[in-house]
Every structure is written in structure tokens, then in C-alpha cells.
């Protein structure tokens, strides 16, 4: 590359356009420019795949996450699957009653359950943030009415939220029954 400075072969058939051969110096400049461009591309390509987008948020994350937790409960109590769809990441994993539930399964269950039959009473929660990740730990009481009889269950949960392009989304949630 960039060794001999020979005139360019412009013969391409009948409608050949004659291009005057560039000088040796201009060829070298072009070659250097090409090399630099090539290197720049490599660097750009490498960094674009390896360096994740950074997100910095000055405070307020905890309040945002708490608000989302409340929105989740509110949306669920109103069977508002549209709101839940925005709160939940598509790859959400949810462990409930010892079963692993996907986002689709969770939403279809919310659709089936009558909004009157279950009520959730949220209790204090703590939010820990780790950059683009937030962990929520808290407890809630769930009142379920079945066949005219109500049962109250007490749960402790851990929710994991991740900041993505669309904002904070719930990526994992699990609850364990609290033995009193």
C-alpha cells in the first residue's frame, strides 16, 4: 500500500473516461488520509460496541422508583395492563407463589383477576441505587377474596429496576411469604 506510484489504469470498456494520473505526492496524501480514516473507523466501531451508554442522574432516582412502585400497584388494582406494559421490561422475570412468571403471563393473569378480589397494602420500602440499577426491598399485605372468604398474606419482596432508553423499567421481582 502506497509503494509504487504508477498511473491509474482507467480502461473500463468503450465509454472509458480518461482520468489524468495523479501525482505521486497527492497519491501519498490520499493514502495517508485513507489510513487515518480506516483507523478512525476501527476505533469508532470498537468503542461504540464496548462502551455502554452512561446515564447520570442527580438525585431523585429513589423518588422516581418509589413512584413507579406505587404506579405498579395502582395499575394492577385497576387491571391497567397498558400502564403495566410500560412499567415492565419485556424480559421481566417474576417469582410469585414459588412460580416463575413472564411478563406475558403476569399481564394475562392481571386481565383475568377481578380488580375487586385482590387488594394490596404497601408497607415501607427501601431503595438502593447502583448507577443504572436500583434494588427495592419492602413488604406488602395482600388481601384475597375467594368464595366469600378473605385471606391476608404478608410478603417481603425484592424488585430490580434498570434504567433503559425508555426510562426505569422493572426487570425482576420476587416475593417470599413472611412468617409472622
Amino acid at each position: 500500500m502506497g509503494g509504487d506510484c504508477k498511473p491509474l489504469d482507467t480502461r473500463r470498456g468503450l465509454n472509458t473516461r480518461i482520468i489524468p494520473p495523479p501525482s505521486c505526492q497527492s497519491l501519498r496524501i490520499e493514502t495517508k488520509f485513507m489510513k487515518l480514516t480506516g483507523l478512525l473507523f476501527i476505533v469508532l466501531c470498537a468503542t461504540s460496541t464496548l462502551v455502554p451508554a452512561q446515564h447520570t442522574e442527580a438525585g431523585g432516582t429513589s423518588a422516581t422508583i418509589r413512584a413507579l412502585e406505587r404506579q405498579w400497584v395502582m395499575a394492577q388494582s385497576h387491571n391497567d395492563n397498558r400502564a403495566l406494559d410500560l412499567i415492565f421490561d419485556n424480559a421481566l422475570v417474576y417469582v410469585e407463589y414459588g412460580k416463575l412468571v413472564s411478563k406475558g403471563e403476569y399481564l394475562s393473569r392481571v386481565k383475568r383477576v377481578s380488580s375487586q378480589s385482590d387488594t394490596i397494602g404497601m408497607e415501607p420500602m427501601t431503595v438502593r441505587t447502583f448507577g443504572n440499577t436500583a434494588i427495592v426491598v419492602g413488604t406488602y399485605r395482600e388481601k384475597e377474596v375467594k368464595g366469600g372468604q378473605s385471606t391476608i398474606r404478608h410478603w417481603r419482596y425484592i424488585d430490580t429496576w434498570v434504567y433503559k432508553k425508555s426510562g426505569w423499567v422493572l426487570v425482576a421481582a420476587g416475593a417470599a411469604p413472611l412468617s409472622n
Binding site: 500500500m1 502506497g2 490520499e30 493514502t31 485513507m34 489510513k35 480514516t37 480506516g38 473507523f41 476501527i42 469508532l44 466501531c45 461504540s48 460496541t49 464496548l50 455502554p52 421490561d89 424480559a91 422475570v93 417469582v95 407463589y97 414459588g98 412460580k99 416463575l100 438502593r128 447502583f130 448507577g131 443504572n132 440499577t133 434494588i135 426491598v137 413488604t139 404478608h154 410478603w155 417481603r156 419482596y157 425484592i158 430490580t160 434498570v162 433503559k164 426487570v171 425482576a172 421481582a173 420476587g174 416475593a175 417470599a176 411469604p177 413472611l178 412468617s179
Partner: protein, 146 residues
């Protein structure tokens, strides 16, 4: 030279960022599974040094009875249980950038205060890529539904 630059350009554009990402993801997934196994082995062996490196200082754990434990409490718990054995049944990793979610099932048996116990739990673990290494920041276990 133009051809070389074009090839580089095509490689960069054509090497789908997704492919490179998939390669990185599969590497991270196997690493996290290995770390999960290391976490269980170090718990069985009461290897608190290894556990200390695997668990973030802000690590929180909710056990199958709904008890909330922090990192020192988790480490202290493993010291109280003898003949602890874990058997992982399933494990799946989902990556979300620097965050990894691991779900699975395990069987746990041991002797606590002279009483033998057996548990079969489902778990959800959250790992974070922090300062160049993966650390567990949260974990929850709940009894597997029959």
C-alpha cells in the same frame, strides 16, 4: 486502499453490533453461572473470603421465610449451619447491560441447631458489573410451589 477502507467500513457496519454484543453476552452469561456456582460452593465450604468478594457490601438477601439479611448476617448464617449442601436444578441468566438477573431452582440441605432440614427453593439473584467485576447485590429465595 479505497477497497481496504470500504472493507473495514463494511465489516464495522456489517459486523452487526448485535453479533459482537451476543458474543460479549454469552461470555458474561457463562461467567455469571460460574460465579453462582462459586457462591454456592463457598457457602458450603464456609469460605467467607470468597463470599466476601462475590457479595457487594450492600448485598441484601430475603430468605425463603421472608427474613431480610444483609451481607454480614448472610455470612454469619453460613457459619451456623453444618453439612450444608446445595444442588442447583435450573439456572437462567438475563442480561440488561451492566445488570444480570439469574433465576433458578435449588435444593438445600443441612443441619441447623442440631436439626436437619431440606428446602427446595426458587431464587432470583441480581448481579452488577462493578469496577470490572460482577458482584451480587440482591438475592431472594422462595419455596417452590408444589
Amino acid at each position: 486502499m479505497k477497497i481496504v477502507v470500504s472493507i473495514i467500513f463494511l465489516l464495522c457496519m456489517g459486523t452487526p453490533a448485535g453479533y459482537a454484543q451476543a458474543m460479549l453476552d454469552s461470555g458474561a452469561e457463562s461467567k455469571i453461572i460460574a460465579l453462582e456456582r462459586a457462591k454456592l460452593h463457598s457457602s458450603e465450604a464456609k469460605d467467607l473470603g470468597t463470599l466476601d468478594t462475590l457479595l457487594d457490601n450492600a448485598f441484601v438477601y430475603v430468605d425463603a421465610e421472608g427474613k431480610l439479611l444483609n451481607k454480614p448476617q448472610v455470612m454469619a448464617y453460613f457459619l451456623t449451619v453444618s453439612m450444608l449442601q446445595f444442588a442447583t436444578e435450573t439456572m437462567a441468566v438475563r442480561l440488561h447491560g451492566d445488570t444480570a438477573i439469574v433465576t433458578g431452582q435449588y435444593r438445600m440441605k443441612g443441619v441447623e441447631r442440631g436439626k436437619p432440614f431440606v428446602q427446595r427453593n426458587r431464587f432470583v439473584d441480581t448481579w452488577l458489573h462493578k469496577d470490572g467485576q460482577w458482584v451480587a447485590i440482591a438475592s431472594l429465595s422462595t419455596p417452590v410451589a408444589d
